[in-house]
């Protein structure tokens, strides 16, 4: 029996489906990543079993004035550190996806964790992404180059956009 399991917010699922259709069913595309880098994403993955593998990626969305998300692209988090640039002083929506594939059971599953993020101009953001033994975490800190301390940023649901 093959089983594919997905868990993600409806916004992400709907936006990715729309992107796939508009893109001629070509599926996901690479995020251009041509802006000044203001995110440093550090990733650690360990499925906890030699019979399975975990892959981490992040889908990046632009958020419009009426809080709709527009898919911009996907970055593979296949290295310990990836630098990314998102538009400063504008709302972005990031969906961190963990895809777990089991070789023996021929099954795949995907878990998604999303957050709104407004990267302030002049600030740098550290994002620690981990998936170890079926427990995942995404932690974001914000730091100004002139400040000695970084502060933790709470993850925010897309619904928080309406309050902004």
């Amino acid at each position: 029996m093959n089983a594919n399991t997905y868990a993600m917010g409806r916004y992400v699922a709907g936006a990715l489906l729309t992107a796939g259709v508009l893109g001629g069913c070509s599926g996901l595309r690479s995020y251009p990543n041509n802006l000044e880098k203001n995110l440093d994403i550090q990733t650690e993955t360990d499925s906890g079993s030699i019979f399975s593998k975990v892959r981490a990626e992040v889908d990046i969305f632009r958020v419009t004035a009426n809080c709709k998300t527009e898919y911009q692209g996907t970055i593979s988090l296949d290295g310990p550190s990836v630098e990314v640039g998102i538009p400063p002083d504008k709302l972005s929506y990031m969906a961190f996806r963990f895809s777990n594939s089991s070789f023996l059971a021929s099954s795949r599953s995907t878990m998604s964790h999303e957050t709104l993020l407004e990267a302030r101009a002049g600030y740098n953001y550290g994002i620690k992404v981990s998936y170890v033994d079926d427990i995942y975490n995404v932690a974001i800190t914000e730091k100004h180059p002139r400040s000695p301390k970084a502060r933790e940023i709470d993850l925010r649901d897309i619904n928080a956009c309406k309050a902004l």
């Binding site: 997905y6 868990a7 059971a105 599953s109 427990i135």
Partner: protein, 174 residues
């Protein structure tokens, strides 16, 4: 979920045993009363070296962040006339209630496309309830009402929220 049909069977089993010949737990209180006597349920009690306020704050933050999720499972099995594709979705609903003397985390689960023999409470059948109480200034007691089999990742995550040692989210697809 590594074996989605086994999971469904376990949850169904828990549901059946909890009801006996009666109804399903309709509230967290009903669930607390039913689990100790159920074959497929268990109560675990443990103390953590953290102030009650810190444990309550972790429940408040991580419950909604990690458990407001919908999991879709699509499975394909060989059929007589070709592959048979089945799809169902499981929606989790966390509820956190905090007072000065108690912090509660309730986790409910609603599954689409399944036969429901008993009345399902709003939000889904109760899957787990965790109650935290202050013991002393820096110690908190946690009572965990949960399935005796399955849902290991969820249980591991909630315990981690209690101890503060691992405050990540459970992969609900496992």
């Amino acid at each position: 979920m590594k074996n989605s049909y086994t999971l469904l069977a376990l949850v169904t089993g828990l549901v059946a045993v909890l009801t006996g010949c009666g109804t399903m737990p309709q509230t967290a209180d009903d669930f607390r009363k039913a689990v100790p006597g159920a074959l497929t349920g268990k109560v675990e009690t443990f103390d953590v070296n953290r102030p009650f306020g810190a444990v309550a704050k972790t429940f408040e933050k991580k419950g909604p962040e990690c458990l407001n999720k919908t999991v879709s499972v699509t499975s394909t099995t060989p059929g007589k006339y070709g592959p048979v594709v089945s799809t169902y979705t499981v929606t989790y609903k966390p509820t956190v209630r905090v007072t000065k003397k108690k912090a509660e985390l309730h986790v409910q689960q609603h599954t689409d496309n399944t036969l429901k023999v008993h009345k399902e409470p709003e939000g889904g059948y109760y899957l787990l309830v965790a109650d935290a109480y202050p013991v002393s200034k820096n110690k908190t007691r946690v009572d965990l009402y949960c399935p005796a089999m399955g849902h290991k990742v969820l249980i591991k995550a909630v315990k981690g929220w209690g101890t503060g040692e691992n405050v990540g989210c459970p992969d609900l697809t496992q």
